[in-house]
Symmetry: C2
Subunit: 311 residues, 2 copies
Amino acid sequence: MSERDWISRYFAPLATAPGAAGLRDDVAELSGGDGRLIATTDALVEGVHFLPDDPIDTIARKLVRTNVSDVLSKGALPEDVLLTLGWPNSRPESEIAAFASALGDDLETFGARLVGGDTVRSRAGLFLSLTLTGRCLCEHPVRRSGAAHDQDIWVTGEMGAACLGFEALQRGECDSPHVAVYRVPRLQPVSAAHLIANHASAAMDVSDGLLGDASALGEASGVGMKLALEEIRFAGKATDIDTMLRLATWGDDYQILFTSEKTRRETILADADDAGVSVARIGETSQKTGLSITWRGEAVNLPETLGFEHG
Amino acid sequence: MSERDWISRYFAPLATAPGAAGLRDDVAELSGGDGRLIATTDALVEGVHFLPDDPIDTIARKLVRTNVSDVLSKGALPEDVLLTLGWPNSRPESEIAAFASALGDDLETFGARLVGGDTVRSRAGLFLSLTLTGRCLCEHPVRRSGAAHDQDIWVTGEMGAACLGFEALQRGECDSPHVAVYRVPRLQPVSAAHLIANHASAAMDVSDGLLGDASALGEASGVGMKLALEEIRFAGKATDIDTMLRLATWGDDYQILFTSEKTRRETILADADDAGVSVARIGETSQKTGLSITWRGEAVNLPETLGFEHG
């Protein structure tokens, strides 16, 4: 059974608070706030989410960014951080200083502050868990479920750089420029939260592969998702469809997928430009549910697996 | 270097928000709230904080209670929970249902609700991290630093049952009544939060050994802590001083240590009785800093180690 199945079967029934959204969204609304206060938790495990020899400062930044990505994608600004650090005896303590320094630097970049946490000994590899709160720029977080049919589908940044970086590392090509993106996700600036809050009908961060995440957003909203491959910006020089599909299903992009009324096209482009956020309009929603992809108007068969699940 | 030293050296400098209290307290005030909204994170690691063959439902309850204990001890009621579950491939998935069921049951007992989290694969043992928010009954959490000299020192419940339970397990005496307390801390009812909010000048939960925690509270408040051993309620039938000192330094008690004006003695006893909270007055604060203990008026030498650090 996959982790997603565990959550829906065993944990979702416990999540009865309305702000929990049945654990089917990226963040929860905290009951202590006014609807605008949200929280998310993302964990990283050595050997699963990062490689044992990844530099420790990149692990700290990846931890921050996987969480910040969730908050920005909901139209919210990062606030407070609680950190769980599970440190193995096998890892030199000298790395803790480098970890803390990179953590502090990255938190500052995104306007978040460390307020608490727990440090424990790990009996095996390094594990990290971070809880991040955020303040919504709208009255509530932008959910996955708000898309209507006949809206535009947008995505920020480019897809697949992390995939190419991981593959380069597997081949021993450590100086590939994509390696840095695999290790430290390149998020959009925090101003992206304003773009989402102002314009998005539904949004989520792209972390498990664009196709799988698009499918999830469509399902949550009850709409179909039609994507045009040629409109998606891919890392590297992807020209063949197989490569594009590989990059669109691997994950670790940490970009923002969102939907919006078609009337807002020009405003979104202008606002994104002002905010220094790179966006591309990659498709539209439809009444008929399900995911479909085209290449220059021709239907493309969906790959067997739409997204990545960290096994 | 100990975990406490890591925190003060590497992470406390990052915790510049006033609500973080320099990471020297049990909870943080979240900046998204009104001063009353707090959060804490506690993690449990297999082989460090629980035994590999502890029943899975007891591990879930221990996870909930170590966090609830922090919140109650600050005069606050538990609210929202974000859970990180690191599940090893070696542990049967059938245990997840039992874990979730016990988690849900215990959250309900303490009035908390699951709102989010992350489930990941662990490459080694089970690890768990829980972030719990709470709502303070006063304007702010009751800190460790509020004690003045010439106040009473109180503690709830009895000390050392977890220690006796752990020792019984080591001897293979699984049917000792203390084993259940080692596995599932016996917290005071949530009404204890009202007692703390109404009366305590300083408070913290006793989780690393009474003597070490009393010393920490005294240090945070800048007062001395004089404890009378004969007033402390110990589990089992501790009659000799060596046993008492062992039970007062082992940890995992999850009771509440607090200080209060001497004029409140009778009110505290009456309110505790009404709330179903067991309390004992075990000493008083002094202007001269440091920890001292007596047995029927005679000074007792402090043990070499005042508290427990999970290695």
